[in-house]
Amino acid sequence: MNADASQLFWMTGIASFLLLTAGVYYLLVTFNLIRALIGVELMIKAVTLFIALAGRVTGREGLAQAIMITLIVIEVVIMVVAGGLVLGVFRTTRSISSREIRNLRD
């Protein structure tokens, strides 16, 4: 790997790590279910960016793009189903706070 590719790898790698941290942090500090979904979305963005970077530095852009497209399809399905769940919780409890669904076992 030449110097330019190495610099690109570290730069983008660290940025995607920081994006992942932002997503994990958001998941940890919030009780709002929509905000939790946004946290998950940020984490998936970080992973997508890292796959693109891996494809670029290894010269396997085609394979990386195929994996990214699969990841994006799965991401959409996750978001739609999770959005439906949040809506279902809202219809039942009139709230989108995860505090309200802690008593599901009762």
Binding site: V24, R60, L63, Q65, I69
Partner: protein, 160 residues
């Protein structure tokens, strides 16, 4: 390289805004901005097809889903915003610890990979997706169907 640096900086700023803003609608707009910037970065990293998917699906469709979800919430009062902002700043104390923990976990995996050059014809996404990884397409169809049936199951009305 400078363009990538600027894009990465803007992406991180948008991510910080998404995480730190108290109003939900602004948070969703921040996420759409992150998504758009990630798609530009993907284009710069020689992944144009995936970049188009990212821009249209993630920045477009998922933002619309979030906007619909946010429309069900009630607007925060100014007092609520102040309280939430104080709470968020208190919780930020844990951020360096979280970063250190995640950094240690990822430190070993974040090493530059050394691979041989790919075989001829494997750099084109069409060849890879339809030739080598066509089983992924069946997986995608199954996941989409599972999602569709899942949503139908959530909103199915009880028979009277």
């Amino acid at each position: 390289m400078t363009i990538e640096l600027i894009l990465l900086g803007l992406m991180l700023l948008a991510a910080v805004w998404t995480v730190m803003t108290v109003r939900l609608l602004l948070s969703v707009i921040g996420l759409a901005l992150v998504s758009a910037l990630v798609s530009v970065l993907m284009y710069r990293l020689n992944a144009p097809y995936a970049a188009v998917f990212e821009l249209s699906v993630c920045a477009g469709l998922i933002s619309v889903i979030f906007f619909v979800a946010v429309s069900f919430t009630k607007r925060l009062t100014d007092a609520d915003v102040r309280t939430l902002r104080k709470e968020r700043i208190k919780k930020t104390v844990w951020l360096p610890l979280l970063m250190a923990g995640l950094g240690l976990m990822l430190a070993k995996t974040l090493a530059p990979p050394v691979l041989e050059a790919p075989a001829q014809g494997q750099t084109d996404v069409r060849t890879v997706l339809w030739g080598l990884r066509h089983l992924d397409l069946f997986g995608q169809i199954i996941v989409l169907l599972a999602g569709a049936f899942g949503v139908v199951a959530f909103f199915k009305d009880k028979k009277k």
